[in-house]
């Protein structure tokens, strides 16, 4: 994926198996969100393709969703003026059918389908614990619940692969814990999960595998231990140590001064 002369994401090969949680980390600007946008068809990749379950996906967001990939957003993007239940029902769009005439005439088939869809949406709201707020407007929910609702809305499209873009951004430690439990529960439903996150503790607790993206390229992929021990990853985040590092000299100098004062 290139924007003008800038290559934002370059040949990232990636496999996520169902029932697996994979983390995607990397410093700011590494191309993590761009990668998600390519996967979901928001950006048309300059070169290359996205395949899911062996078939190449067309870069049309609604077809990607239909094929079974759902996502949440780094900045919450709920339908703010719709109720909690309506938000989830919109998520069910691809999994429901409706003819124009049956909708206008409100036939029995229409009512039945609508009921079934609503029941499924309510199950999801139970699952994330927002069933009691079904008729609240999404914009009136507290922040943490908005995040949860986004996950429910994504689950409503019955995905095989769920992409979470910084699901715990701005959350307090308890909320982060709760989100961890939620992601485990989603994995146990047999859904493959790919998480972007900056909270390393969250990532290493959660993920079976972690991939590190740096400057648009996949640097390392492996278990938490492998990634944590990799020097290149540390270098990407903190920079390389080098000879004559002024910070080290300063530290030495500070030590000396201290010694003299004593």
């Amino acid at each position: 994926m290139r924007f003008g002369g800038l290559t934002a994401v370059r040949s990232v090969d990636f496999t996520v198996n169902s029932g697996e949680i994979v983390g995607l980390i990397g410093p700011n600007g590494a191309g993590k969100t761009t990668f998600f946008n390519c996967l979901t068809g928001l950006y048309v990749p300059t070169e290359g393709t996205v395949s899911y379950q062996g078939t190449v996906l067309p870069p049309k967001p609604h077809l990607v969703t239909k094929a079974g990939i759902a996502r949440t957003f780094q900045n919450i993007r709920l339908f703010a003026n719709m109720t909690v239940l309506e938000n989830v029902l919109v998520g069910r769009h691809t999994r429901t059918r409706e003819g124009l005439w049956s909708a206008l005439l409100r036939g029995p088939g229409f009512k039945k389908a609508e009921k079934a869809s609503e029941a499924r949406a309510m199950e999801l709201l139970e699952f994330i614990g927002l069933a009691h707020k079904r008729d609240h407007l999404a914009r009136n929910l507290p922040y943490g619940e908005q995040r949860k609702l986004e996950i429910a809305r994504a689950l409503a499209s019955e995905p095989g692969l769920l992409l979470l873009d910084e699901p715990t951004a701005g959350m307090n430690p308890q909320e982060t814990r709760a989100t961890e439990e939620l992601v485990f529960a989603i994995r146990d439903m047999g859904i493959a999960v790919l998480v972007i996150e900056h909270d390393m503790r969250f990532i290493f607790n959660l993920c079976d595998r972690v991939a590190v993206l740096v400057q648009g390229e996949k640097l390392v992929e492996g278990t938490s231990e492998v990634v944590q021990a990799d020097d290149r990853v540390i270098a990407a985040y903190l920079g390389e140590p080098f000879e004559g590092d002024p910070a080290q000299n300063e530290a030495k100098a500070a030590g000396t001064t201290k010694g003299e004062a004593q």
Binding site: T40, F73, R77, F79, L100, L104, R153
Partner: protein, 309 residues
């Protein structure tokens, strides 16, 4: 004859017609932020579609009971095709262009449609007679015609179906979602291009309903009828809060009543004798628009702009 109840009824009828047309402006604006200035012409072509059915397709002497539904279907088909065609061939290629480009296109399309009808529809350059329903009924001190009854019933049925459709049906929900955030709506699996087509089609059909009512009520149509009606309906949509379907209907009714009352009563005010009558009706309509926009820029039922983001 010209009592206050009669004037209110006249205003309500005119307003229902404005409201039906205004729906087309407001739905399209709500979803693609485009002011479809060709909508008045979509209304006009609907009237000619209905007339074609009556004059060229139905045998002479068909009863109006049978003719009106068929004329509605004919007018509806023409208006919907013109509206959807405009979207597909004029507006969709400009979806990513700066806002002025589709606006200018809309004005061009509007003139094109007018000229096409003027040049190629027999007799359309002058006004053409339209079968009217002018049998009059008296309810108390109010006289209404069959055409008025048709208009009121059609407006009520159309508006309540639309309100239900948008709030409760799957496509309606997808429409709301697309209006609020098109990118996210796509990621929910909504084909936003299809939703936009549906919005244009509904607007087109409602314009055809209004066009048929117009013909039945006034008894003649011409190729310029869409200009002023379109402008007034647009005013109604803005006054009610553009993007809001209830606002469009309310704006239409308020505008219709205000216009009728102003032309009937303003000349009774000492010193304003010259400012009454039909010729000043448009002036008062736009004065009202200016006043509403001064004190409530978002329109009567409009949301604050910040809510849309």
């Amino acid at each position: 004859m010209h009592t206050l109840p009669q004037q209110l009824a006249n205003g309500l009828l005119l307003g229902s017609m404005y409201g039906l047309i205004a729906i087309g402006y407001t739905m399209v604006y709500g979803i693609v932020q485009l002011i479809n200035f060709a909508h008045g012409e979509i209304f006009m072509t609907g009237a000619f579609g209905a007339l074609t059915v009556y004059v060229y397709i139905l045998p002479d002497g068909t009863s109006m009971w049978a003719a009106v539904p068929l004329m509605l279907i004919g007018g509806g088909i023409v208006s919907v095709l013109v509206a959807v065609g405009a979207e597909r061939f004029a507006y969709r290629p400009l979806r990513q262009a700066p806002r002025l480009a589709p606006l200018i296109t809309a004005i061009g399309l509007s003139l094109t449609l007018q000229e096409l009808v003027r040049n190629f529809y027999p007799g359309a350059d002058k006004s053409r007679a339209f079968p009217s329903l002018d049998a009059t009924h008296s309810i108390g001190s109010v006289d209404i015609t069959d055409a008025d009854i048709f208009l009121v019933c059609a407006a009520i049925v159309c508006m309540s179906s639309l309100a239900w459709f948008v709030r409760k049906s799957r496509t309606g929900r997808a429409m709301q979602a697309t209006a609020q955030d098109p990118d996210t709506a796509q990621l929910m699996g909504i084909d936003t291009n299809r939703i936009i087509v549906v919005a244009f089609a509904i607007g087109g059909f409602f314009a055809a309903v209004a066009a048929l009512s117009y013909g039945l009520k006034y008894g003649n149509i011409d190729y310029r009828m869409g200009f002023l009606m379109g402008l007034k309906a647009f005013t109604a949509a803005v006054m009610g809060g553009i993007g809001n379907i209830y606002g469009a209907m309310l704006g239409g009714v308020v505008l219709g009543i205000a216009e009728t009352l102003a032309s009937a009563y303003i000349s009774n005010i000492p010193g304003m004798q010259q400012l009454g009558g039909q010729s000043w009706a448009n002036v008062w309509a736009f004065v009202l628009l200016i006043l509403v926009l001064l004190f409530r820029p978002q329109g009567l039922l409009g949301e604050r702009v910040a809510d849309r983001a």
